[in-house]
Amino acid sequence: MSPEQQRPVTLVVNGVGHRVTIPVRRLLSDAIRHDLGLTGTHVGCEHGVCGSCTVLLDGRPVRSCLLLAVSVDGAEITTVEGLAGADGTLHPVQQAFTECHALQCGFCTPGFLLTIAAGLEDNPAPTEDEATELISGNLCRCTGYQNIRRAVLRAAELRRSGAAG
């Protein structure tokens, strides 16, 4: 058996380019966590069901466990570490999560935050139904979804008022 194929890639995460040489079968989720040390991206089911590994790829939410890192060479990736401002100011979605008690154990939270942040860019004023639809691809097993849905609506308010962003 020949040695496992490696390939150099540039992963642009939160605006910073990282040049790494990785096995071609490395999942993006694992590359972000293991090769870049950014452990805010959480890995749950590893087959695209739970949504906790959600990151933004060129601004759109995707499952990082269903992407090969070598396949997104050069693309812009945003992880949860890229949400808050450089001075530590929380992103409106993060602020809303704290205000609405929208997390308990926090495992699913990074995936929700990125899904919602991108969703509000698309639809800045979601209805309750649209908020439910927005988070329908992410699983939470502690606080349930009511507070998370409240946080979606609160985050939309915060974005509009500019109070936290």
């Binding site: 999942l27 694992d30 087959h47 995707v62 269903l66 992407l67 090969l68 329908s136």
Partner: protein
Amino acid sequence: MKPAAFTYHAPETLAEALQVLAEAGEDGKVLAGGQSLLPILNMRLAAPGHLVDINRIPGLAAVDSAADAVTVGATARHADVERDDAASRVQPLLRQGLRLVAHAAIRNRGTTCGSLAHADPAGEMTAVLALTGGTVRLVSAAGERELSAADFFVGPLESCLGPGELLCSATFPAFPSGTGTAFVEVARRKGDYALCGVAAAVGLDKDGLVTSVRTAYISVDPTPLVLDLTDAVGGTSAATADWAAAGALARSQVSPEPDIHATASYRAHLVGVLTARALVEAAAAAGGSAADAPSVVR
């Protein structure tokens, strides 16, 4: 939950991709969006020796809307097709079906052509291709061929895509004017595989009389099943048509298999109920006022 090792190819041109696929033969697999392939690799249900990533090939991501058909390229994401207003005007079933495909995050990466190549009997786009009379274009280093849905889908997760072939594009023809469409389904949870799904097309004449009723089903047969239900309601006014009778006719023509998600009789029941619902919606979209029809179980 990690893929087994493979050799990765990142061709920059279609010719290069076809050459690599030809050399890899049975051991080669195309990677487009990967939203069905990666779970399979992660769970080691498959371990192809060669993965051919077609995402870098220019020109494959196009969504082309002509007056009579929409052609979707191999790397066009579900989300791009879903958001394409021109495509939705030409063939509304595209957006109607795509909204039911998994979750937004999956649609952002998954491709419509990949979903067809995967040939999952629960895949919404297989029914859209079948009902619209669409075709897929398969290319290889040796040439190309164009196949209808009936010829392309062979069984569950099985198409006639051969070694070395790439599903390069899919074409979804428009319906004649006066046709309304709808896609409805029932799943245990939002975004799950449907227990049963129905794509419907209802044609009305200028007086609002039903001229044609056709449906296609997912999660019912090993391949997308197309039925003609015109006999049940043809010639009657869309506003008063007995859509439940069309549902009953559909139900009498299916024989779904049971699995851990649903019994055969429940699936058959869903065929009847969802057919009627889909036809009401489709007739309304065609310009009839069928939403007031009294005979439909809502």
